[in-house]
């Protein structure tokens, strides 16, 4: 007997590669979206700070915009918030 695979329809779930499961700001899972969004993933991406903490982009933007320019720090570690460029 010989079995040959002719086609494959797979099912998979996607995950963010991050060092945490939930966003520290909105407390939603990263794989879900922030409170203002409808769809996860591309519509509600993550951003990594230089301190290596990551959040929903929308969440951290809200946080950052709510503070004075001089006082823009990561809510987790209080280091200055700088987006890590890749």
């Amino acid at each position: 007997m010989k079995v040959t695979i002719k086609g494959y329809t797979g099912v998979a779930v996607w995950k963010w590669v991050a060092n945490d499961d939930t966003c520290g700001i909105c407390r939603m899972p990263f794989d879900s979206c922030c409170n203002d969004c409808k769809y996860p993933g591309d519509d509600c991406p993550l951003v990594w700070g230089q301190c290596s903490h990551c959040f929903h982009m929308h969440c951290i933007m809200k946080w950052v915009n709510g503070h004075q320019k001089s006082n823009q720090s990561c809510p987790m570690c209080r280091q200055a918030w700088k987006i890590k460029e890749k």
Binding site: M1, K2, G10, V11, V13, W14
Partner: protein, 762 residues
């Protein structure tokens, strides 16, 4: 003193005298003559058979071979009866006359008119049951005869009746008999009941024979006409020799009411069928509506319909979807019958309660709502209609059923306002939701959430079992549901659909990429884009997907790894986690020289591929090899066994699954080509995939816990059992798994489920 005594004695004396006279001379011979007549009919043509016949069928005597013979026979009977009556009743008349003469001669103090009526009552008393039966028989027969001859023309005037008598001997005899009775003032005594009885009997028969099985036509008008023409004509005929026809109007009213009552009862008897047939049986319901206004049968209707619904619908033998269909048509029919909705609420109360207890109700309703491939179009239509009305397009709603409610909500019908019917429950609210079938269905549970959740899992099942990217229908359904339930509740479903369309885009992209780079290294599987695709889901938004850890064949793993790599490159910082219990693999199996194609889950492929290297496996060994549980593996093996690719070798006892041995079938001729079986198997797979199934050893473990829990706790709700089990046995246990366990045990009659509580069945 003496004269007073004498005066007191005279009536007694007279009474006795006249009474004896009547007894001996007239009544005895009258009854005996009638007996002779009945006997002669009995021997001649079996009177009993005729009367029996009469009650069974309606009017048409098929037993008598010849219509003419029958008429002749009737004429003969009526003539003989006439002669008997003439003979005795003329004597009776003389007798009465004598009394009256005596009365007039007598002094004023003694009034003998009472005596006459007394004598009359003696006469009625003397006649036995068979004699009355003879009269009833005669009336019925003559009525039938009359009905047949009056088909073509109206008999309204005295001249018409005279004409009738001239042409029909039977009628003539009959009227003569009646005349004599009228003459003696005996008609009401002897025949009053008979006339009413026969007429009512005939109305009943007529209604039943014409309308019982036919729900599609309206009969009220034809019945009215029939009553007017035949019955009233007949009563006119009977009373034609009397000048006083005043009471005919009362008679008519009474009979009309009798007809309405009877017709309504006839309809109510079959109301269940009528309700089930509803849009087709609209006329019947319309009739019933008219009748209900004139009769007092509302509570009877509600009671009887509830009873028949309970008897015929609310038992385990009926499919939930059938009950829902019945519920929907009951709502429609009863809203038509009673636009205030009170009757519908009263009738449907037990239905609603019962549906609440069935666990697949929500599923059925949701799938009915959204699946228009089957015969459930009805509900779908209703749903769309409902939405149109939601948008303010009132024309779509049947004006008859909903106008009052709709108008009521717009506060326009205060002029035509009617109070709620008396039988309305005290807590009912006259709102427009009554007219809305979908709301009625949704309100079985009282909340939208259950519906939304159920729809979500249904949608998930459907998307994951079709593996197609074609979702126009689903999108349309979702849009409809969004209008109904609000957008917020259905975000997750929207995200699910978006995942699928996104997957399509990503697939195309990745395949393009794969084609460009390193195609040569990949197996030919990847080259052909139509043969590889992947659904990439956002896990948080889907119903819980079942995990089954297995090691896939290396070919598939390679493909997955490759695909994943491309994905990771395509979407930065994201990766894929494969769900190997889901998905579909297309394989070709070559046995001997024949090739068979299958489309199965990856697990099945993993199983069958193991047999490629080694033809005989012990279940436990194979389980170890594939890193899965023997019991789960057994199910997969059984699938291939059903296909004819594998067969069992050892005859291990049934419980000893790990030690069963299976081997490859080499003879391709034995292969099962029955496609149906494959589908059945696959269907079972599908349902197991999503439902949470416990393994057997787990079941025993948890069952022991549950038993002792219930022994000390009496009865517990599912949530409590779950919480306890989580605490003591396994913190990862899901509530679905516990539900599976208790359901299983309830099925085995070890548990009893009542009002949300489980208890041990002792």
């Amino acid at each position: 003193m003496e004269s007073a005594n004498l005066l007191r004695l005279i009536p007694t004396f007279l009474l006795n005298n006249f009474k004896d006279d009547l007894n001996d001379r007239i009544l005895l011979s009258l009854t005996s003559d009638l007996d002779v007549l009945i006997e002669s009919i009995d021997t001649n043509n079996s009177f009993k058979v005729l009367t029996l016949n009469e009650s069974n069928q309606c009017g048409n005597d098929s037993t008598l071979s010849n219509e003419h013979d029958h008429d002749q026979f009737l004429v003969e009977i009526s003539t003989r009866l006439y002669h008997i009556f003439i003979k005795y009743f003329t004597e009776l008349k003389k007798h009465f006359n004598r009394i009256e003469k005596f009365n007039s001669k007598c002094a004023q103090s003694i009034n003998l008119s009472d005596l006459v009526s007394y004598q009359r009552s003696i006469l009625t008393e003397k006649l036995h049951h068979p004699h009355y039966e003879l009269l009833v028989f005669l009336f019925k027969k003559v009525f039938d005869y009359y009905q047949t001859i009056s088909q073509d023309f109206q008999h309204q005037t005295i001249a018409d009746f005279a004409n009738l008598r001239l042409n029909h001997g039977l009628i003539d005899n009959f009227l003569n008999i009646i005349n004599i009775l009228f003459d003696l003032g005996l008609f009401d005594h002897l025949c009053g009941d008979v006339v009413v009885g026969v007429v009512e009997h005939k109305i009943k028969l007529h209604i039943e024979s014409t309308s019982m099985e036919n729900y599609e036509e309206s009969f009220i008008d034809s019945f009215k006409d029939w009553l007017d023409r035949i019955i009233i004509g007949w009563i006119r005929l009977i009373y034609s020799c009397q000048s006083n026809l005043e009471h005919l109007g009362d008679y008519k009213k009474q009979l009309m009411h009798f007809m309405y009552t009877n017709y309504a009862q006839c309809r109510i008897k079959r109301l269940f069928e009528i309700v089930i047939d509803f849009p087709d049986s609209k006329n019947a319901v319309q009739d019933l509506r008219q009748c209900l206004v004139k009769t007092n049968l509302r509570s009877h209707l509600v009671r009887s319909l509830r009873l028949s619904i309970e008897e015929r619908l609310l038992h385990p033998g009926v499919n939930t979807s059938d009950i829902i269909t019945a519920y929907v048509s009951a709502i429609k029919a009863l809203m038509f019958l009673d636009p205030t909705g009170v009757m519908m609420e009263n009738v449907c109360e037990p239905l609603k309660k019962y549906l609440r207890n069935r666990d697949d109700t929500v599923k059925c309703i949701v799938s009915n709502l959204t699946d228009d491939s089957e015969s459930s179009n009805d509900l779908m239509e209703e749903f769309c209609k409902d939405l149109y009305s939601y948008e303010g397009n009132m024309d779509v709603i049947d004006s008859n059923t909903a106008d009052c409610a709709v108008l009521g909500s717009k506060n326009k019908c205060w002029r035509v306002w009617q109070p709620e019917p008396v039988d309305s429950p005290p807590d009912s609210t006259p709102d427009s939701s009554k007219a809305n079938i979908i709301s009625m269905l949704v309100n079985i549970y009282g909340s939208k959430d259950m519906f939304v959740n159920e729809y979500k899992s249904l949608l998930g099942d459907r998307l994951l079992s079709s593996y197609s990217f074609n979702m126009e229908k689903e999108i349309r359904n979702l849009e409809l549901l969004k209008l109904k339930f609000g957008e917020q509740n259905l975000f997750a479903c929207e995200a699910m659909l978006k995942d699928i369309s996104e997957s399509k885009r990503i697939n195309a992209n990745i395949l393009e990429q794969l084609k460009q780079h390193g195609v040569s290294k990949m197996s030919d599987l990847v080259v052909n884009a139509s043969n590889l695709k992947c659904l990439i889901l956002s896990e948080q938004f889907w119903p819980k997907l079942k995990e089954e850890k297995i090691d896939l064949p290396s070919e598939l793993e390679q493909v997955q790894a490759r695909f994943m790599k491309s994905y990771e490159a395509f979407k930065g910082n994201r990766t894929l986690v494969w769900k190997n219990s889901l998905g579909l693999v297309k394989i070709e199996v070559e046995i001997g020289r024949q090739i068979f194609e299958f489309e199965v889950s990856p697990i099945h492929v993993a199983v069958i591929m193991q047999f490629q290297q080694k033809e005989t496996w012990v279940v436990s060994e194979l389980a170890q090899e594939l890193k899965m549980c023997s019991f789960v593996l057994k199910k997969k093996i059984l699938f291939w066994k059903a296909q004819g690719l594998l067969k069992q070798v050892s005859n291990a006892s049934q419980d000893d699954v790990p030690n069963e041995v299976y081997t490859l079938v080499k003879d391709s001729s034995k292969l099962n080509k029955n496609k149906n079986l494959v589908e059945i198997e696959e269907e079972q797979e599908k349902t197991q995939k999503v439902s949470d199934v416990l393994k057997e050893n787990e079941i025993n473990l948890y069952w022991n816990f549950t038993q002792s829990m219930l022994r000390s706790g009496g009865c517990l709700p599912l949530e409590r059992i779950h919480a306890w089990l989580k605490l003591y046995a396994n913190p990862d246990l899901t509530i679905e798994q516990v539900k599976f366990l208790v359901d299983l045990k309830t099925k085995d009659q070890l548990l009893k489920y009542n009002a949300g509580l489980y208890r041990l069945n002792k």
